[in-house]
Each structure stands twice: as structure tokens, then as C-alpha cells.
């Protein structure tokens, strides 16, 4: 008869390492030390005297004293030692636990200690059962009987040998002195209780699945083994590192920042649902809740990532960007995320779509990235890949993080959200109410339903975005010069004392246009903003305020960087011209020289400090301005929209003309 292995394995043959065994052995040896170990004495049990017996309470006391732990933990540790068979109970031999009373235990002889190297053999078990069968004259316990029959069937071919062995061992045991024999029988029985536990009991030796690769085996050392190590170590050596004080400081700071937001460390308001059985906390913190809690809004200020990862926060930020007319940055970032994590089948289309929407010259939602990144991206788009937009995405992310995010936190949008944020009162449930709550725990909406709702909302939002796009396109060009960029920087090289503010109120029409097209959610935020401004209705002033703070911000940055504005511009402007001259593919075919100083973006004046995970080698961003020129030029010329160059459609001719 063939016995099929019930465990479907695929070559897992090796027992996992059990580092605990070595450690447990050390403890057990220490426990047996005649001077410092657990006190033992011969004990009479029924009719036999058992040498070196110890009591459960002594073991626990010893462990508690040795490791300076409380009784509960000591009991747990003791139980584990019993479960592994280092100590075995004498009376209730099938229950492998330590009882904190006078019940008796003995140390197992090292021969029967569990070992990692070899598994326990069925043959040995068969011999033991056969021996026991002889001794008990055929009266085995039920599970032993079953095992005996199974093994008999399985090992039929060598059953004679097994029975012979068992008889031999039985005879040899009879010749021993009685106490010795009793002790040995107990030890053997304890060993098999651990390794072949009766059904329904927990086995301490259960270690789960075997491993495929021998944990103790040596790997074959071939040249490529060392080559791989060397390639890896080389790049590890060259890896940029951060001073420990800095990086550890950041970890510590993170803890401190989030301390009051950690429900394990501080109270949550109104109450932790798991403690009070009241789900209000979750209802108030639904992903797209209308009015977020104060705590939640506070978290948005911790980091830009925090803001983006909260759907409500992201919506708020989107609203802000929309008012600034730089919503395309976030939309681009989201598009990139979608490309990166989306389905492979639609990857190509998505890349193309993103290119057409955000990157191509004069695209409907043209974003602003530097030439180097653009070049890398466009080159990569010839063979689209999930990560093809990564450099551009990082660039935009940093732009939003270093620029828009800061302004968002100072913006009326954020202040308004913060003002409206709710601060729930702490629940004060009486015991009776708590009981009532526990009886009436409410189910929640299935995530599937929520997902459907969310998608409907998204579809709605997408529609509203389209409207804005059209609006942006139909607006007259001069207005674009005013509000197209996140941080327009017009004419400030002429006089850095902010005279350009005068520009802002001249453009009421696109703003009112934009207002008409804003979604309902945006309008909701509208009136209160007017209130906070103290100025009823004229949106232009709001914009003006924003750009003023922007201006101040950029100036401050300039100073931080340690260069005076004048020589900064002086050094930059010739470069722009030369860049326009030696135009590459992404340059417009015939760049019209703009008649006036083109609006610029801050992002290109200042090298952006990019925040990237340290795992990649990297090259510095170059602050090239050609993209800016392109943008303003094509906008100015009003050609834009028709000239979408998709790199995998018509690249070479464009190259030639460019």
C-alpha cells in the first residue's frame, strides 16, 4: 500500500532553524545546576519514589528570579519549556503546562531533548508503541491504538523487525532496577507526548512548513556568486548616506509629531470604537467626509505626503490648486500614479494620454517641467514603461511640495477647512450605555458600495475638470500671462519691489468665467472665503493676495540661496536666449520671441531640492529655462493645441525641423 503524503509539498525538505532550542537548552542546564538551580528532592508518588522531582511553583519562582520577570511571564516561559519537552509533568502527563502549585515535574534527560537536525522517526514511534502494547497487554489509548494500526499498515514490510526491537527493549528494561525503569518509562512517554501529541492538543514542536532550501547548507560558491556580491557591494559603498544624528533625529521627530494621533498613546475623540463599541469615530473620519475633524486637518500639515494620502485632504488641495489655476500638476501626478500602479494592458494608452494631456507642446493641461527631465521623458516614451514618467512625476511632486503645499497651508482654502473642522466632544458612556453599545454594534456599508459611490463622484469631478480646461483654452491670452503659472514672476526683474501687483486686478473676466465652471463643491467654499477676506465677491483681490505672498515667498528663497536677485537674473537671461537658439526636439519649431518679458516659474529659478528615496543614483537637476520659453512662446503665439507631438507617432520629422 502506498501512503500519500497528505501535505502537498514542492521540495520543501528542510526543517526551519529553531534558534530557540539552543537558548532553551542553556536555560534548562542552568536550572539543573546543583547550587543555583531549582531545588529538587525525591518525592513519593503513590507507591514509587521519584528522584529529583521539582514542583511547578519552584520552577516559576526560579524563572521569575533569574530573568526578573513577573509570575505570569515566568509561567508562560515554564510552560514553553514543558511544551518542548525539557521538563515533563509527572502526574497529568498529557497536559504540557506548568501549574503554579505543588504539582511535580522532572527534567528530561538530554537524550530526549528536541533537536533541529533530524526529524522524529516513525520507526522509533512504532517501536515505542509496540513496546507499550506489550506492557499494557494490548490496552493502548484510543489515539495510540489508531496510530499503532496505521503504522502497522504502513511499515508492514519491517513490522517483524519493529516487534523484535520492542521485545528486546522490553526485556532489557525489565532487568533494570525499578526506580530507573519507572523514570525511563516516564521520560520516553513524555518524549512521545511532545512529538506525537494526542489529537486536539497543541504541540510545542510544531514548526509549520518545511523550508525549500537547507538553512544549514552551504551555498555552492561559483564565480558569479562572488561577482554578484561585488556588484552589490560596490553600489552599496557608493550609496549616499545620511549622518546618523540627522536620520535618527528624523525618526524620533516623526514619533513626537504623531504622538497625539496614535490611538494607543493618546485618546481619540470622540472615542475609540473598539473600546466603546460606538462607531462615531469612523463615521466622522470617512474618507470623503464633508467636514473633517481638527485632528485630521492637523495631520495634513505634517507633510505633503500626508495631505496627498488622505482623500479628503487631496480634494482640499485640489480645490486650492484649481483656484490657483495649477490643478494640472496634481492631475498629472495622479495620472502618473495611475500609470505606475494601473493595469498593464492599458499602460501604453495611458502613457499616450498623459503625454497628450500634460506634456506635449500646447497640451490642454500643459505642465511645467525642466528640459532635462522632459528630454528623458520624451525619449522614454518611445517605449512606454510604467516608470517612464517617474522623473517628471518626481519633479512635479517636488514642485507641489516645495511650492504649492506651503502656499496651500497659508491659503484661505486651508484656513477655511481648518475653521470648519469639527472637534468632537469626548464620549462619556456609563457602564450601562457601554453594554447597550456592545449589544447593538452596527454593521457598516460594504467597501464595495463605497467604492461605487467614490467612482461616481470621480466621474462627476472629471466632468467638471473638462469644463475648466475648455475655459482655460478659450480665455484670451493676456490673462493667461497673469494666472497661468503657479508662481508667475513677471517684470519683477525690472523692479523687485512688487509693482506687478497692479497686473492682477486687470483680469476679472477669466476669473468669473472660471467661477462659472467650478464644481458645486468649490462653490460651497466660496462665500466663506469672501467673508474671511472681508471683501465681498471680487475674486481678483484674492488672487492678488495669493500672488503677493507668493512673491514674498520667492524673494525669501532667493535670499536664502544667497544670491541677490539682480545678478541671478543677469546670469539667467543670456542662457535663455542661447537655449532658445539651440533648440532641441521639444523646442517649438519657430519660437516667436515674446515681446515682453515672459512669465516665469519659480521652479526654474531655484534649484529644487528633490526629495527622493536614497536608493537610486542620480543626477542633478539642471535649472534650464527652455521649457518656460516654449510654453510662453507657444501660448503667446496661440498655436499650442494643434501641435501635439506624440513621440511614437512622428518623432523624426520633428527632430529634423527642430
Amino acid at each position: 500500500m502506498t501512503i500519500r503524503n497528505t501535505l502537498r509539498d514542492h521540495g520543501q525538505r528542510y526543517r526551519p532553524r529553531m534558534a530557540c532550542l539552543k537558548k532553551a537548552e542553556k536555560v534548562v542546564l542552568e536550572m539543573q545546576d546543583p547550587k543555583t538551580g531549582v531545588k529538587s528532592q525525591p518525592q513519593r508518588l503513590v507507591i514509587t519514589t521519584i528522584p529529583h522531582a521539582i514542583t511547578g511553583e519552584d520552577i516559576i519562582a526560579w524563572l521569575a528570579d533569574r530573568f526578573q520577570i513577573d509570575a505570569q511571564e515566568a509561567k508562560n516561559l515554564g510552560t514553553m519549556l514543558v511544551a518542548l519537552g525539557y521538563i515533563y509533568p509527572i502526574q497529568d502527563h498529557k497536559r504540557l503546562v506548568i501549574k503554579p502549585d505543588a504539582s511535580l515535574y522532572r527534567f528530561q534527560t538530554p537524550y530526549f531533548w528536541p533537536a533541529q537536525q533530524w526529524p522524529v522517526e516513525d520507526t522509533d514511534y512504532a517501536i515505542y508503541l509496540a513496546k507499550r502494547n506489550i506492557r499494557k497487554k494490548g490496552l493502548l489509548e484510543l489515539h495510540e491504538q489508531e496510530q499503532y494500526n496505521r503504522l502497522h499498515k504502513w511499515m508492514n514490510h519491517k513490522w517483524d523487525f519493529i516487534v523484535m526491537q520492542a521485545k528486546e527493549q522490553y526485556r532489557a528494561a525489565k532487568e533494570r532496577k525499578k526506580p530507573d525503569r519507572v523514570v525511563f518509562e516516564c521520560q520516553e512517554r513524555a518524549y512521545w507526548v511532545v512529538h506525537r501529541p494526542p489529537p486536539g492538543t497543541v504541540s510545542g514542536m510544531d514548526y509549520g512548513l518545511d523550508r525549500r532550501i537547507d538553512p544549514n547548507g552551504d551555498e555552492v560558491k561559483t564565480p558569479d556568486y562572488y561577482e554578484r556580491i561585488m556588484i552589490f557591494t560596490q553600489q552599496s559603498i557608493m550609496r549616499p548616506r545620511v549622518k546618523s544624528s540627522v536620520s535618527i533625529g528624523a525618526l524620533v521627530k516623526y514619533c513626537a509629531t504623531y504622538n497625539s494621533h496614535d490611538p494607543f498613546l493618546s485618546r481619540s475623540f470622540p472615542s475609540n470604537p473598539w473600546l466603546t463599541d460606538d462607531a462615531t469615530y469612523w463615521t466622522l473620519n470617512m474618507p470623503n467626509v464633508e467636514m473633517p475633524t481638527k485632528m485630521r486637518v492637523e495631520r495634513w500639515t505634517f507633510s505633503f505626503g500626508e495631505l496627498l494620502s488622505d482623500p479628503r485632504g487631496r480634494n482640499d488641495f485640489r480645490l486650492f490648486l484649481k483656484k490657483e489655476f495649477s490643478g494640472e500638476n496634481l492631475a498629472f501626478w495622479e495620472g502618473c500614479e495611475d500609470l505606475k500602479w494601473g493595469a498593464a494592458a492599458t499602460m501604453r494608452e495611458k502613457a499616450e494620454q498623459i503625454y497628450k494631456t500634460f506634456l506635449a507642446r500646447g497640451a490642454p493641461r500643459w505642465i511645467n517641467i525642466d528640459g532635462k527631465t522632459m528630454e528623458v521623458t520624451v525619449k522614454g516614451l518611445k517605449h512606454p514603461h510604467r516608470y517612464v514618467l517617474d522623473p517628471a512625476q518626481t519633479h512635479i511632486y517636488m514642485l507641489m511640495k516645495k511650492d504649492s503645499y506651503g502656499r496651500y497651508l497659508k491659503s484661505p482654502v486651508f484656513k477655511d477647512t481648518l475653521k470648519k473642522a469639527i472637534c468632537p466632544e469626548e464620549h462619556k458612556f456609563s457602564d450601562a450605555q457601554l453594554e447597550q453599545n456592545a449589544r447593538t454594534r452596527r454593521p457598516s456599508l460594504s467597501p464595495i458600495v463605497l467604492r461605487q459611490q467614490e467612482q461616481e463622484l470621480k466621474a462627476k469631478m472629471a466632468a467638471s475638470v473638462d469644463i475648466t480646461q475648455i475655459c482655460r483654452f478659450t480665455t484670451p491670452v493676456p490673462h493667461l500671462a497673469v494666472y497661468s503659472g503657479i508662481s508667475d514672476f513677471p517684470s519683477c526683474n525690472a523692479s523687485p519691489s512688487l509693482p506687478f501687483m497692479a497686473n492682477t486686478p486687470v483680469c476679472p473676466s477669466p476669473i468669473s468665467l472660471a467661477l462659472d465652471s467650478t464644481s458645486a463643491s468649490e462653490r460651497r467654499a466660496e462665500p466663506s472665503e469672501g467673508d474671511s477676506d472681508g471683501n465681498s465677491g471680487t475674486r481678483a483681490t484674492v488672487v492678488g493676495h495669493v500672488s503677493k505672498s507668493r512673491m514674498a515667498l520667492s524673494l525669501r528663497r532667493l535670499l536664502k540661496r544667497g544670491c541677490t536677485p539682480s545678478n541671478m537674473f543677469a546670469s539667467l537671461s543670456p542662457k535663455c536666449h542661447s537655449a532658445a537658439g539651440t533648440s532641441s526636439r521639444i523646442q517649438p519649431i519657430s519660437p516667436d520671441q515674446p515681446s515682453q518679458a515672459p512669465p516665469r516659474r519659480i521652479g526654474n529659478f531655484f534649484q529644487i531640492k528633490v526629495d527622493i528615496p536614497p536608493e537610486c543614483r542620480i543626477y542633478p537637476i539642471e535649472s534650464e529655462d527652455e521649457e518656460e520659453e516654449n510654453r510662453s512662446a507657444s501660448r503667446g503665439g496661440g498655436v499650442g493645441a494643434k501641435e501635439i507631438i506624440c513621440p511614437w507617432e512622428s518623432l523624426t520629422p520633428q527632430n529634423g525641423t527642430g
Binding site: 534558534a19 508562560n76 524620533v252 469612523w282
Partner: protein, 395 residues
């Protein structure tokens, strides 16, 4: 996150074969190279060059390793516990079991939280997968799988699907439905295929990709719709036992731990192993990112948990105690990263103060090994899965 005035070259023409592909950033001596994974492989397998012997290669790699250690030590100016000295000591935690989830009839091997903060998926040795509403203790779905030892399961970020796998060497995605009577096993779709048991799986930031780790020593990224292998990650020399995706939105990395005692950090874009830490003395059973994404913790069979700072590129803390002699099988951080919950093979969950390295509390309750602990997405509760057939919610 670090501030560096750089942007990454992750994609472009390989400097060896010229094909546009995701790039590994490697060095020969000190010259930077951007090679695709294939060319790196070719480079590694070029065999013995003239004048090279196995011994010379061995010596060379040893000296490089020494150099790496020197580099790591250079910027090591302070230890975590020194920085943490000024930090306030944590008060006593009063964590209690708030729910016991009974329903599995064998060892619970894995669990994962749904983003809705109250639903849970759990898988067990007998091939059963259960989706719970842990708050009401309601079992919403039960799926019987054709294989035993379902060692990995994950909830999709949307909450509309779950993934699982185990001894069948596959990772399958099961879309959930509103109808609890529907036979979900019929809608099961195999996505990932390994050559050995599946030890861990997680969705990436969407429902469309799965990241898996396997006993065959590799990790892999899969497209859910087509089952296409998007990227594989080779580098472990033994079974990979666990993986965790970087939490930060800019991080394209994940970390994996294996029975080769290593924890490796991978760049998901190129499949490159960018960092590797080998300070455990036994199998690394679980790895988990610190919530900021700048560090990770590992749990090992050698009964310690360790804390690695990725930017300092070294181990910064070891969580151990004389009285803890059994292996740690799983770890997770609290929301602030201050607490580290670690499940052990001695049936307990120890709570460590991450900064000070001291133990804050010890949770008793389970009657067998802890297979997995996970803090809920909003940090309000801890769920532990155990071989005693139950899951417990602690708060």
C-alpha cells in the same frame, strides 16, 4: 525623507545594450553605470577572467565588504538610545482583548486589514479564507480553497477583492461581492505563479498589481488583470518569508526578509537590490516599514527584533530580552511608530518602545504561536492571528 538635489535615472537606454529599459545603477570600481537587469546578469555570469581564481574573487569581495562597513561607520555619530534619552518615557499601556474571532478550524496563518478600518481577511492552514467584519464579528464571506497552508492573504486597497496563496504556489485574487451566499471560489483568478510556496503577498497602491514573495527565493510583481510578470526580484539565497511595501508615496521600494538571515530592500522599478542587512543570527520571519518609510523593523527566529535606518544604512536598535528565548514571527508599528508590536512563538505579543528599546508591555491570551500582528489602518486596534485557530483584536 531626505532632501537631495537630485533626480533619479531609472529609465532609459542601457549603457551596455542600448535598449530603453528600467535601469540598475551599479558601479564598476567607482565608475557609475546604468545597466538594464539583463546586462547586469550577463556581467555577473561572465565567469572567471584571466588571472582570477575563486580565491581571488573571494578575497576581493571580502575586502569590498570590509570597505562597506567602514563607509557605514563613518557617518555613525550617535546611537538611537542616546537621541531617545531626552524623550519622555511611555506610560503604562492598557491593552485588552476586545474581540475574539472564532471560525477557523485550523491554524490561522495570515490576516490583513481592509482600508475601511474594521474589516479583516484571514487565511488558515485548512485552506479556508474568511472575510470578517471584526467590529460586529460577522463573517461576511467564507471561501474554501483547494490548497492547504494559505500562508498569505491581502485585502485590496479598494476593499473589493482579496488575494491569497500558499502551498499551491499561486497567488489568486478573489473579487468580493455584496451577496454573501455567492460562491466566491468560482470567481477566483490565479494571478501569480511561483515555483514554490507563497509566503507573502500585498497589493501595491492599486488593485491592479500584486507583489508576492515565495519559498523559491524570489519576489515578484504581477499584473492582476493579465497575470503577467512585471518584475522579478532575485537576490535572496534561500526562502523569502515576508515582504512589506514602502508606505511613502514617493517610495518605489519594498523590503523582504528570508531564511538566508537577510533583509533586502528592493527598487521596484529596476528589480535591483539596493540595500541588504544581515545582522540577524537566524531566519528573518517578518519585515515591516516604519510609518515614515525611512526605516524598517524585522522579526527573527533568533528571538530578536531589529530596527534598521535606511538613510543611515545600518541597524540602529535591537529589541531583545534574556527571558525571551523563542523566535519572533511577526512585527508591526503603531501609527506614530513609537510602539513596535511583535508576535512570538512563545504565544505572547511583546510591545516595545521603538525609541528607547525597552519593553512596554506583554500581551497574553493566545494559546499557540502568533502568526501575524497587524495594526489597523487608523491605528485604533491591533489584530493578532494565531495558530490557536483564533484572531484577537486588542485595543
Amino acid at each position: 525623507m531626505c532632501d537631495q538635489t537630485f533626480v533619479a535615472v531609472t529609465f532609459g537606454p542601457c549603457e551596455s545594450c542600448g535598449l530603453a529599459s528600467p535601469l540598475m545603477n551599479i558601479y564598476v570600481k567607482t565608475d557609475p553605470l546604468n545597466y538594464c537587469s539583463f546586462c547586469v546578469e550577463v556581467m555577473a555570469c561572465k565567469g572567471l577572467q584571466r588571472g582570477e581564481t575563486l580565491t581571488s574573487l573571494k578575497n576581493e569581495s571580502e575586502s569590498l565588504k570590509k570597505k562597506l562597513e567602514e563607509e557605514r561607520v563613518k557617518l555613525n555619530d550617535v546611537e538611537l538610545h542616546q537621541v531617545a534619552e531626552k524623550i519622555e518615557v511611555l506610560g503604562a499601556l492598557s491593552l485588552k482583548t476586545r474581540r475574539v474571532l472564532k471560525g477557523h478550524s485550523n491554524k490561522v496563518l495570515c490576516m490583513d486589514w481592509c482600508k475601511d478600518r474594521r474589516r479583516i481577511v484571514s487565511s488558515s492552514q485548512d485552506g479556508k479564507l474568511i472575510v470578517w467584519d471584526a467590529f460586529t464579528l460577522n463573517k461576511e464571506h467564507g471561501v474554501s480553497l483547494p490548497c492547504t497552508w494559505v500562508m498569505a492573504c491581502a485585502y485590496a486597497p479598494s476593499g473589493c477583492a482579496v488575494a491569497c496563496g500558499g502551498l499551491d504556489n499561486k497567488c489568486s485574487v478573489i473579487p468580493l461581492s455584496l451577496d454573501s451566499n455567492e460562491n466566491l471560489a468560482a470567481k477566483k483568478k490565479s494571478v501569480a505563479m511561483h515555483t514554490n510556496y507563497l509566503s507573502g503577498c500585498t497589493f501595491t497602491n492599486s488593485d491592479m498589481q500584486l507583489l508576492t514573495s515565495s519559498g523559491d527565493g524570489t519576489c515578484a510583481l504581477w499584473d492582476v488583470e493579465s497575470g503577467q510578470l512585471l518584475q522579478s526580484f532575485h537576490g535572496h539565497t534561500a526562502d523569502v518569508l515576508s515582504l512589506d511595501l514602502a508606505p511613502s508615496e514617493t517610495g518605489n521600494t519594498f523590503v523582504s526578509g528570508g531564511s538566508d538571515k537577510k533583509s533586502n530592500v528592493w527598487d521596484m522599478r529596476s528589480g535591483q537590490n539596493v540595500q541588504s542587512f544581515e545582522s540577524h543570527e537566524s531566519d528573518v520571519n517578518c519585515v515591516k516599514y516604519y510609518p515614515s518609510g525611512d526605516a524598517f523593523a524585522s522579526a527573527s527566529d533568533d528571538s530578536t527584533c531589529r530596527f534598521y535606518d535606511l538613510r543611515a544604512d545600518r541597524e540602529v536598535a535591537v529589541y531583545q530580552k534574556d527571558s525571551i528565548i523563542f523566535g519572533a514571527s511577526t512585527v508591526d508599528f503603531s501609527l506614530s511608530g513609537r510602539l513596535l508590536f511583535a508576535g512570538y512563538n512563545d504565544y505572547t505579543i511583546n510591545v516595545w518602545d521603538v525609541l528607547k528599546g525597552t519593553r512596554v508591555s506583554c500581551l497574553f491570551g493566545h494559546e499557540n504561536r502568533i502568526s501575524r500582528v497587524r495594526v489597523s489602518p487608523d491605528g485604533t486596534a491591533l489584530c493578532s492571528a494565531s495558530w490557536d485557530n483564533t484572531l484577537r483584536i486588542w485595543a
